[in-house]
Subunit: 407 residues, 2 copies
């Protein structure tokens, strides 16, 4: 079995961890900010050191290329370098820099793969600055258009295209191209592997995700004299919805999860009832039918809460993903690689969203998980050990090479 | 009985309604904005037309003065010209412009009062841009310091002193001076007078108000894989608190009222659990003991909700006002004036906060209410009829003159 340069991988991860530091040991490297520009420049510099060409497409996706013995669609490895506001040092980052380490190792070994191998850094996987998440892989896969992506606006009113041009990463390449296969290494973002002491998670499928953006409409009025039975406070409608979401999540635990992740109101000031509120609801379950049932129960309870609050409500946007089943051949490459390296492994489902979900629509795709300590993620305390990074990247290396070198 | 020029009063109110128009027929004239500067300039121009001197104090409070036959502390009439984000055309405004009409009428009549009469426009009664409300009358009455007022900051990070200087209304006069008595005319902001068809409300006391700012502290984590039983989402803690506040309000209705008026969270984004939230709670009841009991029940339920949400919570700020009892002699002047004018009247309590609450600590004070249609206020649909304005201002006129001319 091939093995990577573990020290080099860890040094590379730690160098990334210096770019866009948070306040508590993690990262705040929101997409298309100057910090994101800086880590992109660093990735380009690393590629240049080894003579790997870098292509940037119109959505800012970056492709680091190792040529193969023959041309043709590349084997693609990827993830993302952007983070949440309170992000960790490994979420997404391990996938990109682990991919870079695969190329570096092959170069060290003088191993020219039969097919080209590329490593992609997807723009805005997190959706923390521009919503929704996984936006640029969605365009790459034809799920959304490039104009739609350019028109997304952040909470400060900045248009995505302007932010992309400001950091100099609106590339010339068209968005989307044929790909032989897509491999994604990611930290698990749940405590299962870590709690059970297992080295590698082989992801066979995703949790069904149901997203809802609910809008509540009430009426402004004075917080003092307005009789309780004449009030239409949108904050109360949204709060009933948040509580219902959480309680349905608990009712379906441990498999089901439901989150009220965002609640905004207007005018949202002391002295006045709010006429407007929005609630973002996120439902996940390994079984599609159960996810749909959770969503329907939440909607029924939102209707009850809105009636109590005397506010109108409507679902203004929905999103659905995660029911992908990954490519059995690629899944088996991970299993064989882990077995060959003597690592413990288990099959699992991904609960978080990943760019691989969209990629599975256009190419054979599979995700590989490494443990993360206590399952903590989207938090600056997110952490892994060098051994976690090494083991998973060794599996990635052998699986990718097996794919790239097949007849 | 003396009577005002009703047409002139209405024209003056309608001129004010042109300054800082909202989007639905009301006003958006937040304190210390250019629109507030414009209406202040208009008040100064109106005063100049009739030769009334205008003094501005260090907090931006404006005093329009009619000299009396003798000097000494003035009889003061006042309210405010600032509005909520979705404000009406009469809330506060009727009190200031009704006061101006009192001065104009006395000038028309050649009636020189024994004591000087002044009309005050208090800075930032609403608290909609800079919190808390009734800030400048609090400083006038020695409840807060002027430096404290200057240091308040709006949601855009603008310091109050800078906003005050930007519109040119940081005056030279010291904040606070002896006052013979304080009269405030205000729309009721509740539907009682309007529903019962009564012309005049004589305010004898205020509702006890208990304000709370609660902070919830949780932990950021991923909305997807994080197990339900490991979540500490501050939005859920705050939402339980908002629901509890509303339900306690309903349990104590119709006398008691409780409002969740503001709910903010951070990061408050899709994909992540929020580590921070704040909830503003406003409790009102005519009986002090019941207001305290409502507050305590809400706090107990907030503790339960925080436990379910696994978040920490603390009360970071509290405020208390409204238990003032108004001056019996002034209250009786309103009653006698209404009776003399043949208007129907009833004694009532004020549920909203007013600058009169603070003024009652330093001078004999009483508030007069006029009906507002359907009790709608802090809403652009707020409305009154010309007759409502005329009747109430006639009562104000006769009560003020009786006070100013007493031996």
């Amino acid at each position: 079995m091939l093995t990577i340069n573990a020290d080099r991988l860890w040094r590379t991860l730690m160098r990334s961890a210096e770019i866009g530091p948070g306040v508590a040991g993690g990262l705040k490297r929101l997409t298309l900010t100057p910090e994101d520009g800086e880590v992109r420049d660093q990735l380009k510099a690393w590629a240049a050191e080894d003579g790997f060409a870098v292509t940037v497409d119109g959505a800012g996706n970056m492709f680091v290329r190792m040529e193969g013995a023959s041309d043709g669609p590349p084997v693609l490895i990827g993830s993302h370098l952007d983070t949440q506001v309170t992000g960790g040092r490994f979420d997404g980052i391990l996938g990109v820099l682990g991919g870079l380490e695969v190329l570096r190792t092959l170069k060290d070994l003088g191993h020219v793969p039969k097919r080209p191998i590329e490593v992609v850094n997807w723009t805005n996987e997190e959706g923390a600055r521009f919503s929704p998440p996984m936006m640029a892989s969605a365009v790459f896969c034809g799920v959304e258009t490039l104009d739609w992506l350019y028109d997304r606006v952040d909470d400060d009113g900045v248009r995505l295209l302007d932010a992309l041009e400001a950091i100099g990463y609106r590339g010339e390449a068209p968005v989307g191209k044929p790909v032989d296969a897509y491999f994604e290494l990611h930290i698990e973002q749940a405590p299962e592997l870590y709690d059970e002491g297992i080295d590698i998670g082989v992801v066979t499928a995703g949790y069904a995700v149901r997203g809802l953006l609910i809008r509540f409409t009430g009426e402004t009025a004075h917080t003092g004299p307005t009789p309780m039975d004449r009030r239409k406070n949108a904050i109360i409608g949204a709060s009933y919805g948040a509580v219902a979401t959480n309680e349905v999540g608990h009712a379906y635990a441990p498999l089901g999860k439901a989150t009220a992740s965002r609640l905004v109101a207007w005018p949202n000031k002391p002295g006045i009832l709010s006429s407007f509120a929005e609630l973002t609801v996120d439902v996940r379950h390994p079984e599609t039918e159960a996810a749909d049932r959770m969503r329907d129960e939440i909607l029924a309870r939102i209707a009850e809460g809105a009636e109590k609050a005397k506010v109108k409500w409507e679902v203004v946007s929905t999103w659905t993903y995660g029911e992908e089943r990954f490519d059995p051949a690629l899944v088996d490459l991970y299993r064989q690689a882990a077995k060959g390296l003597g690592l413990s492994q288990k099959d699992m489902m991904s609960q978080a969203g990943h760019d691989a979900y969209y990629m599975s629509r256009v190419a054979p795709t599979a995700i590989l998980f490494s443990p993360c300590i206590d399952g903590i993620t989207h938090n600056e305390a997110e952490d892994i050990t060098p051994a976690h990074a090494t083991n998973a990247t060794n599996v990635l290396l052998n699986a990718v090479v097996a794919r790239a070198d097949r007849d």
